[in-house]
């Protein structure tokens, strides 16, 4: 137990960076400026994930697919063009029959601004895998409703929150926010206090919902 607890101990140094003894190490003083660079040696890093499944797909798709493991969790980073195929293969040939979740992450500074993530689970293998792909703002992505019916609401939520459109979705419309709402709140450029004032004024008859 105690050994396990020790593992995270490297985490505190970023705060207590001051000690002069550390000065000798080039990486340590850099930490306050560039946390991303400092975090690498401290935290675990993604390692290549090798398994028969990965080998099979790698020979099939080559550079369009990358497979890694982070903290024991496996994920594929795939090219957007592979998206409907690889998801279908994972369900049909590898028994990833349960689509746990579909979600997205917004990185406004990147050229391809969005990560779209499928979290899959296989009952027979008792195994989880994530599939990630990157798409640009305004680009669409093929819907996986035909692969897993559960994708219906999950994709609607991604559309509602990020404005990502899914081609072939039977009923792509907002799910949590009102139909006429402007903007997509989980984008990073949507402020936490921002809201659709016009919608609030018209529909609720008040100046502001805050």
């Amino acid at each position: 137990m105690a050994e396990d607890v020790k593992t995270p101990a490297p985490a505190p140094p970023p705060e207590g960076e001051k000690p002069t003894a550390e000065k000798t190490a080039a990486a340590a003083p850099a930490a306050p400026v560039k946390p991303a660079a400092a975090a690498k040696p401290e935290g675990p890093v993604p390692v290549p994930w090798s398994s028969p499944l990965v080998e099979k797909y790698r020979s099939q798709y080559g550079s369009g697919l990358d497979a890694q493991t982070y903290l024991g969790q496996n994920y594929f980073s795939v090219d957007r063009s592979l998206i409907p195929d690889i998801l279908r293969l994972l369900r049909d040939d590898e028994q990833f029959d349960y689509c746990v979740d579909i979600t997205a992450v917004h990185y406004p500074k990147r050229e391809k601004q969005f990560d779209v993530i499928w979290i899959l689970y296989s009952f027979s293998r008792n195994e989880r895998v994530r599939v990630k792909t990157q798409i640009a703002d305004g680009a669409s992505i093929p819907s996986s409703v035909l692969i897993w019916p559960t994708a219906n609401w999950l994709e609607r939520e991604v559309y509602d929150m990020f404005g990502i459109t899914f081609d072939g979705h039977p009923d792509l419309k907002r799910i949590l926010l009102p139909d006429g709402w402007k903007g997509h709140p989980l984008r990073k450029d949507y402020g936490i206090l921002q809201q659709d004032q016009e919608w609030v004024q018209i529909n609720l008859g008040i100046e502001s919902g805050q």
């Binding site: 705060e15 935290g43 559960t150 039977p170 799910i175 709140p185 989980l186």
Partner: protein
Amino acid sequence: MSSHTNDTTNDVSSRALSNLDLETPAKPYLDSNELIINMGPQHPATHGVLRVILKLDGEKVLGTECVIGYLHRGVEKIAENRTYAMFNPYIDRMDYVAAVSNGLGYCEAVEKLLNVEAPRRAKYIRVILTELNRIASHQLWLGTHALDIGAMTPLFYTFRDREEILKIFEKYCGARLTTHAFRIGGCQYETYAGFEKEVKHFLTYVAPKIDEYEALLTTNRIWLERTKNVGMISAADAIALGVTGPVLRASGVQWDLRKAQPYAAYSEFDFEIPTGENGDTYDRYLVRMAEMRQSLRIIEQAVNRIPEGPIMAKVPKVIKPPVGEIYHSIEAPKGELGYFIVSDGSTQPYRVRVRPPSFVNLQALDRMVRGLLVADVIAVIGTIDIVLGEVDR
């Protein structure tokens, strides 16, 4: 209700999996015997603010559409503007009848990201409180579900007994509902004096009470009529629709995250995964009743073997997980509750995605009620066991 009705019924039972949920309305108008009505959002039997638009032929349901979002508070957006520890209390406000489970999932997810493990004693405290919360959640479900169907007595019985659990929570952490019982790295509070004794007393108190609930309902003729063969869903459909928790198990899939991918200290306890056969409302009722008894078993083992030791792991004062992302899920009373957390190495999460069981399970409502009567829609909404605070987040 002539041939048309029969067609619909056959259609529902024989519908192939591949075109599930993809039926487009065949015609843009209504037949003379069809109508569209609105159930909710302010309806006593929709458990919060859920609006269901029903397309009916007489009293037979042809299709439904759920309109949700009335309780949307943007929890995931709030998370991006709070530190990891500050976001923890918000978690309780999602599934507010199972706040302890919500907190467990979140704390464990952040701990994984930090590569910390909670001490063994903390894990045991977590298991005891989470299982107590599972019983409380099922009791609230049973009381309200039976009330919806027309049995008022179970509500008083279950709320009387749920009170005992809430008293334990209150004594432990000061709150009854939104408990915020756990912290990242373990538990904030040591158990109070007499905690074990009170939990053991609760176990002996509630076991016969569960028999009492069953005596009221299990062989009750009206209950059987209202729940048997109502809202059936096959195992294949349930999996395709991502349904989890007791609803999935009642369809015959023996899958529980506590066994499949054990977290906290669940691998150290003996318990069974109750399953049903028919996937109907009655089986879901039986599964949840059996789950309460299994929870009692887990609590009994945990409270008898609770180890001594620290309750908090060494966690930095300022929580700054390294860059990376993690998905961690637990078996909440309603199904798989997952957290997908992306860290950019700062004190605030870059993204927190909550995979709510109620939201995904609610999607199966349409599948379950087609061809049934309006009164059965109430029974099915109850049996899915949704909490709108979690559906809408």
